[in-house]
Every structure is written in C-alpha cells, then in structure tokens.
Symmetry: C2
Subunit: 218 residues, 2 copies
DNA sequence: AAGTCACCGTACCGTACGTTACGGTTCGGC
DNA sequence: GCCGAACCGTAACGTACGGTACGGTGACTT
C-alpha cells in the first residue's frame, strides 16, 4: 500500500515539475500556517486532489519530508576557488559566507522549515529535524571548512581544529538571531544591517584566529 | 466562563502547592512527549481530573503558559557583587555565566520548553514563544549587562554598546549548541566539556573586548 | 448528622483532520 | 472514436483530542 507510494518519490531523480509545484505550494503554506497546515489546505492550494498527494508522498510526514528536501535542493553552492588566496580574498569569502547565512536563517522559508524540524524532533519522528540540521548547519560547516583550511595553509589563519574554528565563526555570525526568530521575535534585519554584521563577525573571527604575523587586522 | 478560570491563576500569588505538583507533572510530560501531550495524559499523570485542569488553567494554552512561567520562576538568580572587581573576578563571573547558560540550554526541560515556544510562535498564539524568549535570552541579557558595564567601569573591558557586546558573548558561548539540540541532535555535553567551553568563550570574549592596557590575556 | 466544597474518575460531545473511496474529466496511444 | 491511466474535486470514514457534564468521595463547617 504505502510502499508503492513511498517508492514513487524515493526512487529515481527527484520530483517532477508538477510535483515541484505542489511542494512549492506546501512551502508557501508552511510559511503562512506553520505546522498546522492540513492536507486539505495543501490540496486546495496546489489544485490537486488529496488522493494524488497520498499517492505521491505516502502520508503527511512524507509530504513534509519531500518539501524540506526540495527546498534544500534549491540552495546551490558556488564553490570557493582556493587559488591566489590572500587576506583580502579570505576576508571577503568569510564575509560572503556570513551574510549569506544570515540571509538564509532570517528568511521566512528557513524559519518555517526550522520550526517544522524542531517540532518533529520533539516527537518520535526525528527525521525532519535531522534533515534540516544536515542541510543547514552541517552543510554550512562542510562548505566553510575548506576555506578555513585553505586560510591556514596560506598562513593567514591559525587554529588547531577546523570544526572548533568553524563553530566559533558560526557563533559570531548567528549570535542570538536564529533562536529569537524561531521564538517569534520581530527582528528586522535590513540588508545594510546584515552586511554590517557579516563584516563585524569576520573581523572578530580574524582577531581571534588571524595569523599574528604582520600587523593585526583589528 | 473562562474569565473565571483565568483569574483563578492569574490573580494573586502564584500556584498553590497542589497546582505546582500538576505543573511539574506537565513539565515531565513535556520532556517525554513534546508538544503532543494531551489533557487526558496530564490529568492521569498528575492524578487530577480534567475538570480541575480546566477550572484552574482555563484551557490547554493556559496550562502550557502556566507551566512555562512556573519553570521560569524556579530559576533563581544570585546577584553579582560589583565590589572589588578585578580581572580575575570578572573572568570567573563570565565563566560562571557561560557555564550556567550552557547547562540551562542543554537541559531536557529547557529543550522541551523551547520546542513548545517555537511551535507556538509559528501559530497565532505567539505568547508562549515571547515568554520563553523573555525568561531566557532576554533575562540573561539583563543579568549580564551590569557585569559587562561594571567591567567597563573598572577599565577591564572596552565596548561601545553593552547590548552588542552581550550578543557577541552569547554567540561565543552558545554557538550552534541550541539549534542542534532543538533539532534533535544528540549532543552530549559533559560537565568538563561545558566548563572548558565556558573558559574558551570567556577568553575569546576578553580577547575581543578586554582592555588593551597591559599584556593581553590571550 | 447534615450540608457544602473541592476534587477525582469517567463518560460523553463536537469537531477537526488524516486517510480512503469514488464519480467525473482530460489526455495520450491505438 | 475508444481505452486506460492519471488526475481533480468532493464526499465519506475513523479516530484522536479538546472541552464539558455528572456521579461519587473525602474533609471541613456548623
């Protein structure tokens, strides 16, 4: 019964165009309604039948899981070139990461998705939380660590453990922003504010982990 | 109808002993079951009737709100004495704050309560999220800022804005811990690990905001 | 001893929602 | 032009749960 439905999405190469439309509808509904969206509301918004929803995604959890993965797959990552790394390019890379990250975690979609992940992590179905974590926090770590290590290679950074250094950077960038937004704080982040925070966090990180050779940046 | 019920708890001096027992039961149930606890389960666990629950707390939201406030009221704050502040006492104060905070946010109770706050912040009832935020993040800020300002007064710290300085400290302490725990990551924080993190965060904060007079601490 | 009060346990009600079933429509293949 | 597959819209089913009603019991008052 459900086996067939699950396979329908799991096997092969991602959702079809029509399925993507449905998932985008779920995404919008998730932003508006949070976790209390109903299957009926999804069907209505996506102009599809509930029967189709169940056929494609198995059950409500399957639909949410597919939605989270669909959103995650939309975030494409420009690789960082490790050639010709100097302090200026390292600095701007870090600033770029910081502002990108702030923009992500303060977006409506991210907040809604993280909320869903949190509430599911509280019940038996831990999967959604794990997925959000994997595609969010850990994906960022995997992307940033090579940059940090290239910086160390080029003797621009000093640290023992890339993971620890990354977590410091993460803390300096995110601070209390994510928890405040998740808890419903109206935290208006302007473009200028985000860029300013990115610069500040990067400078602080360099003050802590920048190589002490030559005049310090701060 | 409900007016009477609400007043029963709101007016006057907090929950009675029996009501505290009930709220503690809710707390335990919240840790075990997350937000999907039912009123029936609460009644059974607390050995009281549902009728009594509704009489005392009005409705499900009232019960959860009372629970959050009850837990928050249990956290008592030792005031920090601002006399005879030197670098050593400032450092140990900061380390104390950091380790206390890490212990709080990694406790089962805090995780469960924050989860409830997050899910409620996603629906219309933003109150619970606001309360958690107020009793958590903002309460910490109010407690820590006087310490920071005393440190600046004593020319041990340098910063423009106490709020910004606090948020930096917050980021250095919490890093990715809270979001990982909320999303269900099994993050084992040992006593030694927490204390080590507190020391590291404090040293990093002093490196960023310690007064540059005399040899630097890092 | 009778009355009152607060409370427990449980049965009950209404509804919302996940899930399933079904009739009708479109569309591609023969 | 016909057939079946895929899909839409909607109705129907089952259940879980928030909220209410009610009978029963112990404690306290007079």
């Amino acid at each position: 019964m459900m086996l067939q439905a699950v396979t329908e999405m799991m096997e092969g190469d991602g959702p079809t165009a029509r399925q993507q439309d449905v998932l985008d509808a779920v995404l919008r509904l998730l932003v508006e309604e949070g976790d209390r969206l109903t299957m009926t509301a999804v069907a209505r918004r996506a102009s599809c039948s509930k029967e189709t929803l169940y056929k494609w995604f198995g059950d409500r959890d399957g639909l949410l899981t597919a939605t989270v993965q669909w959103q995650a797959s939309k975030v494409r990552v420009p690789p960082v070139d490790r050639n010709g790394l100097d302090l200026a390019s390292l600095t701007s890379s870090l600033e770029r990461f910081a502002s990108d990250w702030l923009r992500v975690i303060s977006s409506d979609t991210s907040i809604a998705l993280n909320r869903v992940g949190v509430v599911h992590a509280g019940s038996e179905k831990r999967d959604l939380g794990a997925i959000v974590l994997e595609r969010g926090r850990f994906a960022l770590g995997r992307r940033l660590k090579p940059v940090l290590e290239a910086g160390r290679e080029a003797e621009l950074l000093e640290f023992d453990d890339a993971e620890t250094a990354f977590r410091t950077f993460f803390g300096l960038v995110a601070r209390d922003v994510q928890i405040r937004l998740l808890l419903g704080d109206r935290l208006e982040l302007t473009e200028a504010g985000i860029d300013g925070d990115a610069v500040r966090a990067t400078q602080q990180f360099l003050a802590l982990h920048g190589a002490k050779t030559g005049p310090m940046a701060l």
